[in-house]
């Protein structure tokens, strides 16, 4: 079946005339620009997820699954164009995406307009399932709060003093706020918050201030490429008895973290961490197909596919949004990170996270997160913010 729809017999908004045998899914991801790596991980994960979920048939409940990937270029206006094109021209039933919170937020209102389900992956902004949420939005990705809670759970305890270092951006500030809340609930004390210019070259002043605050731990929230690890080492932070902690990033970024080997922290995913069949399958398939292991956001894409297929199975192939919402609220589905559940209130998927330490092992040529313990989905459940 051709994916492109015919210009002439296109139905008006809302009605669906396409052949009932096909389910279409649109994937929005940054395939160019700074977030391209993440976008590609999502797409690969999604493809493999579909393959796994359908047992390779690419069919669910008697319907064929087709998907179309569109590049958002990490620009909100492009994301909206692409989403509309997916919804209009391709008549998709679901949208999965996107790599940046901005793009995703820009697309959210469309989902309400078109009454279609969106599975958010891997955008993290809390507001997606918070104040900007609408009922068509589900999220398999973890949100900033979940990250923060996982981070806090990994190191916070009664009486522990912690300083934070984050980029001076929405991502950093949100993350620290959530982390602070979670850590303080666990009895830790945040002694210093440091925000650095995200495009800066020199973080030594920031680090100096942290050193002055003399915390036991330094919790770092950092996304994007230029990172403070080397400078933390240059400034001998660890030698001064400050333990560094952060969320372990993707493999390419792990390679740059030699300087902080030994740090305790958490991660969303590393392929060596989960112990289940799906993950084994994913790693094997991914290696076969792409010649490398799955990375940080691959299981997210996978999970999105699993969520969709599971929902369709349960709905018997019905793609009507109302039915799907009903089906998906509270739905549990399998992923490479173990089962996830869409919480009914804000459709955020609760999921396992991992407390880790960063170590050098023989197995990998880069510092690798080694499991300390799994953080259960209950432990890392973020507050509900969409009211």
């Amino acid at each position: 079946a051709g994916v492109a729809s015919n210009e002439n017999d296109k139905p008006k908004k809302g009605t669906n005339e396409k052949t009932e045998e096909v389910v279409r899914i649109g994937v929005l991801a940054s395939l160019t620009g700074a977030l391209e790596v993440y976008g590609k991980q999502t797409v690969r994960g999604f493809e493999l997820g579909l393959e796994y979920a359908t047992g390779g048939t690419m069919e669910v409940a008697g319907k064929k699954i087709e998907y179309i990937v569109e590049d958002t270029e990490t620009q909100p206006n492009v994301a909206v164009q692409k989403a509309t094109r997916l919804l209009e021209d391709h008549q998709v039933d679901f949208i999965v995406g996107s790599s940046s919170s901005g793009d995703t937020l820009a697309v959210l209102p469309l989902m309400e307009e078109y009454k279609k389900i969106m599975i958010v992956e891997p955008a993290v902004a809390d507001s997606i399932t918070g104040e900007n949420w609408n009922r068509y939005i589900f999220r398999t990705a973890r949100n900033s709060s979940q990250d923060a809670i996982a981070g806090a759970t990994a190191i916070a305890a009664e009486g522990v003093t912690i300083a934070t270092l984050a980029q001076d951006s929405a991502f950093g500030r949100d993350g620290v706020a959530a982390f602070k809340k979670a850590a303080e609930e666990l009895g830790a004390k945040i002694v210093h918050e440091e925000y650095a210019d995200p495009s800066g070259v020199d973080f030594s002043s920031n680090i100096q201030r942290i050193v002055n605050a003399k915390p036991e731990y330094l919790f770092v929230i950092w996304a994007g490429a230029n990172s403070p690890w080397g400078q933390l080492a240059d400034m001998k932070v660890q030698e001064r008895g400050i333990k560094i902690s952060t969320g372990a990033p993707d493999i390419a970024a792990l390679r740059t973290m030699d300087a902080v080997i030994g740090m305790e922290g958490f991660t969303v995913y590393h392929h060596s961490l989960p112990n289940n069949e799906i993950n084994d399958w994913l790693v094997k398939k991914h290696l076969e197909k792409f010649g490398e292991e799955p990375d940080l956001f691959t299981p997210g894409g996978f999970a999105a596919a699993m969520a969709i297929v599971t929902a369709l199975e349960k709905s018997g192939g019905v793609t009507d949004a109302e039915t799907l919402i009903e089906t998906m609220e509270g739905m549990t589905f399998d992923t490479p990170k173990g089962p996830m559940t869409f919480r009914p209130e804000d459709h955020q998927a609760l999921q396992t996270m991992y407390a880790i330490t960063l170590k050098r092992t023989n197995e990998f040529d880069y510092p690798v997160p080694v499991l300390v313990r799994e953080l259960t989905s209950e432990e890392t459940a973020p507050p509900i913010k969409n009211r």
Binding site: A34, A196, N206, Q208, A225, N226, S227, G230, D234, K236
Partner: protein, 289 residues
């Protein structure tokens, strides 16, 4: 006191790095008056080619050489095929060099992949000395050293030879310089290659400084170079040096004392300087024709 010394040294090192980044642009934009938006791409390619050679051969020195060669080749190609037809036309320069910027930035991903790449300093430049509570990071001292070398070399080249004069004259009136028997095309080509090589040098030195390189550094730091050249005063190497150090040191102090202003500090600096000194720190000589 030690604190101030620490902050100052770090700011100084960052400033030097920024100077290296801007020095090439001082020649190409400040002196030759070419709005080269592809400057960041030269920086980027220096970083990638240099770090690649460095990790392949494990010789940092070789990495630097490769970066310089890369810069020179790119500079040559850029001047010959892109910039030469648009000398003196800023509008065309903007468009065509932005195009080159896109092409080169994206092409990096074709060659080296889209992932970030780690860059560490060579063994002998790793770590730091502690003198009392003053922390001297070796690599930063190295940057300061290289920065000074480049600075004096440039000063010499521009002030002790006819080159600087000829380029300035050539920008004002290219025909007339040729009438005086100088092959201005060759001169421009030479200066452009020099500027490009310096951008690439800054790139490869930036790698170990930040620890990682990635395809967006060209875009991210390109603007900074323009800021430095402008507030330093067009075409003044000394001005660029002062401006770069100012940006570096002020950035370090702001980050320490008023971190909330960090994001804005460069722009506030530029705003204040230009309002009080509308032609930059070391004012390019303004003349009513």
């Amino acid at each position: 006191m030690d604190l101030f010394i620490n902050i100052t040294i770090n700011g100084l090192a960052t400033g030097m790095l920024i100077f290296l980044l801007a020095a090439g642009l001082t020649l190409i934009f400040g002196l030759m008056d070419v709005l080269n938006f592809a400057h960041g791409a030269l920086f980027l390619w220096g970083a990638y080619a240099g770090i690649w050679a460095y990790s392949a051969t494990e010789s940092f020195f070789l990495g630097i050489v490769i970066a310089l060669i890369t810069g020179m080749i790119l500079g040559y190609l850029l001047e010959r095929f892109i910039v030469k037809p648009v000398y003196g036309n800023h509008i065309q320069q903007i468009l065509i060099t932005l195009g080159v910027m896109l092409v080169l930035s994206e092409f990096v991903k074709v060659v080296w992949g889209p992932n970030i790449i780690q860059a560490t300093a060579p063994e002998w430049l790793q770590g730091s000395w502690e003198v009392g509570s003053i922390l001297l990071v070796k690599y930063r001292l190295f940057i300061i050293f290289i920065g000074l070398v480049v600075f004096f070399a440039l000063l010499f080249l521009l002030n002790k030879t006819k080159l600087g004069l000829v380029v300035r004259a050539g920008v004002i009136n290219k025909e007339m310089v040729q009438v005086l028997g100088i092959n201005i095309r060759k001169v421009f080509l030479f200066v452009f290659i020099l500027g490009a090589a310096m951008a690439s040098l800054a790139g490869v030195l930036f790698g170990p400084y930040s620890g990682v390189i990635y395809a967006e550094i060209g875009l991210e730091y390109g603007i900074l170079a323009f800021i430095v050249v402008i507030i330093g005063g067009m075409g003044s190497v000394l001005g660029s040096m002062i401006a770069a150090l100012l940006v570096g040191i002020l950035g370090a102090y702001t980050a320490y004392f008023i971190p909330d202003l960090s994001l804005a500090v460069n722009f506030v600096l530029m705003l204040t300087i230009l309002i009080f000194k509308p032609t930059g720190l070391i004012a390019a000589k303004e003349v009513g024709k």
